[in-house]
Symmetry: C2
Subunit: 106 residues, 2 copies
Amino acid sequence: MKTDDRPGILDRIEHVAIAVDDVDSAVAWYTSTFRCTVAYKDATWALLAFGNLNLALVIPEQHPPHIAFASPGAEKFGTLTTHRDGTRSTYVKDPAGNSVEIMATD
Amino acid sequence: MKTDDRPGILDRIEHVAIAVDDVDSAVAWYTSTFRCTVAYKDATWALLAFGNLNLALVIPEQHPPHIAFASPGAEKFGTLTTHRDGTRSTYVKDPAGNSVEIMATD
């Protein structure tokens, strides 16, 4: 079953942020290797849009690598911070210590 | 624009594999925290299905953390290995050293 065809009962992953040491060279590599578009870029991080997901490339000293999930129960996990783009989220750790962002769906 | 609505011209991310130290406790946490289903699980890794993406939880000593992209040009990046589920892929590194799996789309 293609992921696009799954019923809406499953939560969505909104973005994944991975560590890079140089944003420009990482953006150049990903945009020349894959069909994706640059949604945002500065010296500390960039956001690439793929067909089903946004991929963030982050300098880890300034932005922690993490995975962001959209959850209708986001408020249960902590006080939500409102970001400049209007989204609201909080951060938790999974049992292995990975950073997990939980974003409200409304 | 919701990611589901994007035109098919953008490549898709097929799965993301992140490191965990214990598969059982990670699966228990993710399945109780989010609406996702367990597509596969053994002692060394598990595959969780989310609405738009598969998330693999891997013991890094046995399976390297990576991001897998579906690309119609996968063959350009190396000899493709055929896996048990019929998919074909090769692994490369991005400029920061992150492991990237490139999967054929056919």
